[in-house]
Symmetry: C2
Subunit: 148 residues, 2 copies
């Protein structure tokens, strides 16, 4: 079965997404280590999610990141041992628990995130705001279309 | 030290990049497993790179992905054990070796990549080509600017 020909617009987009992705992965690793030297790269995304969406169950986090429950438990245990996340009983169901950032975890995360934002904003400072907004709009369109 | 205020254009862009990134991570995991059920998520990027850039040293791959030599050796060994990559002596230096995809590895990778491309192209089929090209152009600009 021959593949459908893929237009050069799509190939160009695929290439740029791959460059972004590779760099973002390497940076996640660096930022996780900046939050705490013992963190693995995947931990950075967990901080982003817990800071954005607030306390939630470990199973919700596993679903959000598309990883198994065992993997998520292991990642969370490492963060708990470092005092960066904690668990409280879920008011909706006393047998379940909600994962949250500790104050220490939130402070460390926000410091790293704010420093990274400032680097980005500085690098992109002379880029036309209308182009930044247009990139966000097109990427949203891409994200919505390519979902599921 | 108060942070510089971050404009809403940048925050919108950051949000869309985060959505893309999270989804791409989950998909890398799925695609790696489609290539071979025993592969870990990071393996997918290795196939992309070896297929694009050809045989190369393990240290080059480690540098490209921003991981340590030990991590890269472990990943490559798993792929070698499955017969998906192989090593040949480096003609430029007989003590070094070059990593390459085996025919089996390349075939399995390309089947998964082509199927994914077709899904993307189908989902984006009714999107104006000029907008796809514009997204690629702006993302390239972003990648070049935010480098380093």
């Amino acid at each position: 079965m021959p593949s459908a020909p893929v237009d050069r617009e799509f190939l160009a987009l695929e290439r740029e997404l791959a460059v972004f992705l590779r760099r973002a992965r390497a940076q996640s690793g660096e930022m996780a280590r900046e939050v705490h030297p013992e963190l693995e790269p995947a931990a950075y995304g967990l901080f982003v999610r817990l800071d954005d969406a607030g306390p939630q169950r470990a199973t919700e986090l596993a679903g959000y990141f598309g990883v198994g429950k065992a993997t998520m438990s292991r990642q969370l245990r490492a963060l708990e041992d470092l005092g960066l996340v904690a668990r409280d009983p879920d008011p909706a169901d006393g047998r379940a628990s909600l994962v949250r950032l500790t104050e220490e975890g939130r402070n460390r995360f926000r410091r790293v995130r704010d420093a990274r934002r400032e680097r980005y904003v500085r690098k992109l400072a002379d880029w036309d705001r209308a182009e930044v907004a247009e990139l966000a709009r097109l990427l949203n369109h891409f994200n919505v279309r390519s979902e599921g």
